[in-house]
Amino acid sequence: MRYGPWRSALTEPLLQLQDLTKWFGGLVATDSVDLDVAEGEIHAIIGPNGAGKTTLVGQISGEVRPDAGSISFAGKTITKSPAHARSLMGIARSFQITSLFLDFTVLANVALAVQAHAGHSFRLWQDATTDAALRDPARGFLELVGLEGRADDIAATLSHGEHRQLELAMALATNPKLLLLDEPTAGMGGDESARMVELLQRFRGKFTILLIEHDMDAVFALADRITVLHSGRILASGAPEDIRADRAVREAYLGEAEE
């Protein structure tokens, strides 16, 4: 152990995808993707609709099984780990299409995420609906995303923007190392979107973030590195200014967005 754990922490990426490939029938959704995400960075993935961004996130979070290649996280190969195991290891995701417990209260949604990481749930007798050990931390996460005022409302009654905030609160409640955020500002108005970006700015350095986003202002405001995905393949990957200057990227994607 001459080099000690600090060495691996400095040199090994937190998340590493190698030759990751996923087919849907005859369509390749992820085409031999190699990608490293360093600890602490905000890494944005952009690309036109159908580029395979959500499929890529699904493979990292464990909901989509890749056909080939490998995924490693914090030095461990997790290619075949189920979704819940990856969550327990510290990978949290928010969903592009809101995925919540809509018949639960807002607070109960987050409390369940806290519970998921507070040991096993084979506790069949004690009332969990008033358990301060779950509710208090949950309230804290709601405050963090600015939803504390809606804590006791049924999740289904929230606005679209509030659903996005709740998605984020639930992801945070799982004590993640890596946040996979699938279009956190999707469908938000200008103000809401700006507030979300501001919120994510505050997470810089606290979490490693892999961000899928269509809003280029948000991407260039947040990202340390950007990877451009096109037809399942990595077109370019680098610092924001390099991506902005990349001719192929401009043709494939940014050019369209500026029209």
């Binding site: 995701r93 749930s121 506790r123 007798w125």
Partner: protein
């Protein structure tokens, strides 16, 4: 507890159940005592089904099989107690744990396999398993095959309670029903219960926040099977008879109807559903033997116009501004 129509109706229902023997004994109508006894036993079974069907969204179409297992424990035990003179085989303190063990084991195997599928496939597999157990019963020649078996004695509970006396039996079942309801109330509000209800709401999300959903759903399935096994012990003693028919898929269907009619995912819904089912059956079958011709459309009307069943309709009264 806050006063509300739901609470009031539940309190009235429990009070009524508690005084039934006083009334039927006074009026010398033992038939009705037996009827309400059966109602409570089926309410226990329906409550156990509701745990997985109503709270966990697992539509098990083979739930009567566990009731059959419990009933056969009593039938086989008392059969050998009398035939072979092995007295302890008639002991109810043996029957209940044995029924719980046997129905849990069956539920564990059936659940472990069925839960690999979803939706209609889950329904069909549980139905197939239920029918398998039905045919096992049909194949048990020693125990009457498809004719079934008459019980010459009921389970013995030492000096504690003599269930050959229907009034004592009635109060034992009432206590067990209340225990089942209270246990269900605790369970669905516990961490375990929140996971099960979360699985009904959004199973995919549950996995993504770090919960291994399968094992929780499976344990819920086993708990439901175990409770239903106890209901089977009671039912065999109530009817003094066991037969494979208790496990037939139509019996499982009856339990589903009770849960849906009473209100899925509500605490007292299965009790109301069992009551409505049995009372309507009793009343209509007195009018015509084709009572199901009336009962069927009645059920359709409830499903269309009262989605939350009877308990849902009572709850709707609370929300109405007056």
């Amino acid at each position: 507890m806050r006063f509300s129509p739901s609470v009031a109706v539940a309190a009235v229902a429990i009070t009524l159940l508690a005084v039934v023997p006083l009334i039927t004994n006074f009026l010398e109508e033992p038939f009705y005592l037996g009827l309400i006894l059966r109602l409570m036993i089926l309410a226990i079974a329906a409550t156990s089904l509701n745990l997985i069907l109503g709270f966990g969204n697992m539509v098990s179409f083979g739930h009567a099989a566990y009731m059959g297992i419990g009933a056969y424990v009593v039938g086989i035990g008392t059969f050998h107690a009398i035939e072979d003179g092995i007295g302890w085989l008639a002991n109810g303190f043996l029957h209940i744990p044995l029924a719980i063990a046997a129905s849990s084991l069956a539920a564990l195997v059936i659940g472990a396999i069925s839960m690999r599928t979803r939706g209609v496939y889950f329904i069909m597999i549980t139905l197939a398993f239920g029918q398998m157990l039905y045919f096992v019963g049909v194949g048990l020649e020693v125990y009457g095959a498809d004719d079934g078996l008459s019980l010459y004695q009921r389970s013995e509970f030492g000096g504690l309670v003599d269930i050959s006396d229907n009034t004592q039996f009635y109060y034992l079942v009432l206590v067990l029903l209340l225990a089942t309801l209270y246990g269900t109330k605790r369970l669905v509000a516990s961490r375990f219960g929140l996971v099960i209800r979360g699985a009904r709401s959004n199973e995919r999300r549950l996995a993504s926040i770090g919960i291994p959903v399968y094992r929780y759903k499976l344990i819920a399935f086993v708990i439901a099977g175990a409770i239903c096994g106890v209901a089977g012990v009671l039912l065999a003693n109530r009817t003094d008879f066991i037969s494979p028919d208790m496990m037939h898929w139509t019996r499982s269907g009856d339990l589903i109807i009770m849960v849906v009619l009473g209100g899925m995912g509500t605490l007292f819904g299965p009790l109301y559903g069992a009551a409505a089912f049995l009372l309507v059956e009793e009343f209509l079958s007195g009018v015509t033997e084709h009572w199901q011709i009336v009962f069927g459309p009645l059920l359709i009307l409830v499903v269309i116009f009262a989605r939350g069943g009877i308990a849902g309709a009572i709850r709707a009264l609370e929300k109405r501004p007056d």
